[in-house]
């Protein structure tokens, strides 16, 4: 096949593509409208919104609400549920976050050699200075000065949300997201190199692994002991006080570390635009 015949072939293909494209548009709009209509019909069969005789509000929810304080020691029934009754579900979630970090790392990180090779196309090798890669927002006076006041407050708020996870709305996931917000703001204001110095890839991966391992071992051991009728002697504390709920505060801290490190790590990976020092 010659180059011209290839081009003609592609051109013919794109003509039929346009017709296909139009048909595809019409069909997909029709499909979406039909889909919404049928789902609305389904919703009309549901019990009325916010009614107390909703069949979803059954003995399972009652069991969680009634026995939560006695079984777990946590005042927040949601924290008691996701970190005690369904603790392995939360472990799975944290592992999904960890897997996401690893995937983004695999896709976006390149070795120093590849970067140098690519840059060598337009720069002599001795002029490639990796340290000069900078963020356009870095060293902006307004951002830096504002964040000097804001970051400690945001960090403290995040830590407060994590530590009070068993007493008030919040917990590891939301608190971790707040903490990662503070870390991302720091990376914004001071550039990625400074951020790498503060909390580099090695450190945040180690922290994530350590937190996941602690969670896994702690909760696994407690479940194992409970299943074999061994007393675990972990004090539940007075419900409503900061040190209560058995291991729930510890598990919340672990989840918070995983979430904060994951979101911060993913942000750094996107920020550096795909190369490794």
């Amino acid at each position: 096949m010659s180059r011209r015949s290839v081009e003609r072939h592609v051109a013919e293909g794109s003509k039929t593509r346009i017709i296909d494209r139009r048909r595809y548009h019409v069909l997909s709009v029709l499909f979406v409208v039909f889909f919404i209509a049928s789902m609305l019909f389904m919703v009309s069969g549901l019990p009325e919104f916010a009614s107390p005789d909703n069949p979803a509000d059954n003995e399972v929810a009652e069991k969680y609400l009634e026995d939560s304080i006695e079984d777990t020691g946590a005042v927040n029934a949601v924290a008691g549920m996701i970190l005690d009754y369904r603790a392995f579900d939360t472990l799975g979630e944290s592992c999904v976050l960890y897997a996401a970090t690893i995937c983004v790392m695999l896709l976006l990180s390149r070795t120093r050699q590849t970067y140098v090779k690519e840059a060598a196309g337009y720069l002599p090798a001795d002029q490639i200075d990796l340290r000069k890669e900078k963020n356009p927002l870095a060293d902006d006076a307004i951002l830096t000065v504002t964040l000097r006041f804001l970051i400690p407050i945001i960090l403290l708020y995040g830590i407060c949300v994590v530590l009070n996870g068993h007493l008030s709305p919040g917990g590891g996931f939301s608190g971790g997201a707040v903490i990662s917000g503070a870390l991302i703001l720091y990376a914004c204001a001071h550039g990625e190199l400074e951020a790498e110095n503060m909390l580099g890839r090695k450190l945040y991966m180690t922290l994530t692994c350590a937190a996941l391992g602690t969670y896994c071992v702690l909760k696994g051991a407690i479940f194992f002991m409970a299943a074999n009728h061994i007393e675990d002697h972990i004090p539940k504390g007075i419900p409503g006080s900061l040190l209560s709920g058995g291991v729930i505060p510890l598990l919340n801290i672990c989840v918070g570390i995983v979430v904060a490190c994951t979101i911060y790590g993913i942000y750094l990976m996107f920020m550096r635009g795909g190369f490794e020092k």
């Binding site: 096949m1 789902m39 107390p52 969680y64 007075i238």
Partner: protein, 135 residues
């Protein structure tokens, strides 16, 4: 038809969730730009959270932060299970979004565009050229 319109008075949050899901689905299958596709997927995710949260809500009841003094009155609090499920959903959608965006960055580096049609045309051209080199 009347049933379907009545839904907006009796089950407004659920109906809104369904409509949002449709909008997200339309965005997912119609948009050419990969970033818009990802946004469509995120709209679908959010509609599912809205639906779950709406199913858990009961009028006049409080968030399940239980008063530790005295016996527990379960008719005071909403169902805690959907709240936990939404938490799981949010985490998974954040992870999937990060993964998809990273894939998009790689596609952009390879093809210089994030238009899915352009990428398919380029792929076809590359395949044809490879065939040509083979024969």
């Amino acid at each position: 038809m009347r049933d379907i319109l009545l839904v907006f008075t009796t089950n407004l949050p659920e109906a809104a969730a369904v409509v949002l899901f449709g909008i997200g689905l339309g965005n997912l299958i119609l948009a050419k730009n990969l970033i818009r596709k990802i946004i469509g997927l995120n709209i679908m995710d959010s509609s599912v959270y809205l639906f779950l949260a709406a199913k858990g809500y009961i009028a006049g009841r409080l968030a399940p932060i239980i008063d530790p003094s005295g016996p527990v009155d379960t008719s005071l609090y909403i169902d805690p299970i959907p709240t936990g499920l939404v938490l799981t959903g949010i985490v998974v959608s954040v992870s999937v979004t990060a993964f998809l965006l990273a894939l998009t960055v790689r596609l952009y580096e390879r093809f210089g565009t994030i238009d899915i049609d352009q990428i398919l045309i380029d792929l076809k051209k590359i395949e044809k050229q490879e065939d040509e080199e083979w024969t």
